[in-house]
């Protein structure tokens, strides 16, 4: 029916593991493994681990 192929990249959200609700969004290739990095969280004012949020709700 729809001729639209799936895009190469997807937008992902990486969440702060300090449970502050702070997040950042990145674009990565669909085939890439999930993102994770150490980033600054301004709510706790420290560098903390950010892990990618699981895709899809429910």
């Amino acid at each position: 029916m729809a001729k639209k192929a799936k895009s190469r990249t997807i937008a992902v959200r990486i969440l702060s593991m300090a449970q502050t609700g702070f997040f950042m969004t990145f674009r990565r290739p669909r085939t890439h493994r999930p993102l994770s990095m150490l980033k600054y969280d301004p709510v706790v004012k420290k560098k903390v681990l950010f892990l990618e949020q699981k895709r899809g709700g429910k």
């Binding site: 449970q19 502050t20 150490l38 681990l49 892990l51 699981k54």
Partner: protein, 179 residues
């Protein structure tokens, strides 16, 4: 007597008109029995409350119902608002207090003595205080404690988490992702 009349005429027109339409209790008793009464039994304290009727031996004469009170239609049993609204009552009481004729005014929740009595009875009622009252607060206020506790716990475990993540190859071998 002449002096009293002149004194009464110094009142502002608003009060005079009010007393003309709704004579105060002592005055009503006087005007209803003009031939015999003298002015010897007039009340001495101009600021007496509740307004004291004249202690005459005559039977109770029919006075007008209070314009400050709600009333019921006897046939339909419907309630009606007072003839003079609370807003106008407040204005009249302010004038009466200025000119020292509070004892001539009918009783009303806008009377300064009634207001004082209510204040003494209830005290300053600040919203959320008093017996059996609570301030609900906003949702973020109510959940704040729990959320801060969660943050604190997460930050306590953060160095261990980071160490584990680094050991597992900076996300290459990581399996646990947040929802």
């Amino acid at each position: 007597m002449e002096q009293h009349i002149r004194l009464a005429q110094t009142l502002p027109p608003r009060l005079l008109n009010f007393f003309a339409r709704f004579p105060p209790a002592p005055l009503a008793a006087l005007t209803s029995s003009i031939p015999s009464t003298t002015s010897t039994t007039s009340p001495s304290d101009p600021n007496a409350y509740p307004p004291s009727p004249l202690p005459s031996s005559k039977p109770h004469t029919h006075t007008k119902p209070s314009p400050f009170a709600a009333f019921r239609n006897p046939t339909t049993q419907n309630w009606h608002a007072p003839h003079i609204s609370l807003r106008r009552q407040a204005g009249l009481f302010k004038l009466a207090a200025q000119h020292n004729v509070l004892s001539l005014m009918p009783s009303s929740p806008k009377h300064p003595y009634e207001k004082e009595r209510k204040r003494i009875e209830n005290g300053l009622r600040v919203q959320g205080t008093g017996v059996g009252k609570r301030v609900k607060g906003k949702l973020w206020e109510r959940t704040l404690k729990g959320r801060l506790e969660g943050r604190r716990k997460a930050m306590e475990g953060m160095p261990a988490l980071v160490r584990e993540w680094k050991e597992r190859g900076h996300g290459r071998g990581w399996k646990k992702w947040p929802k």
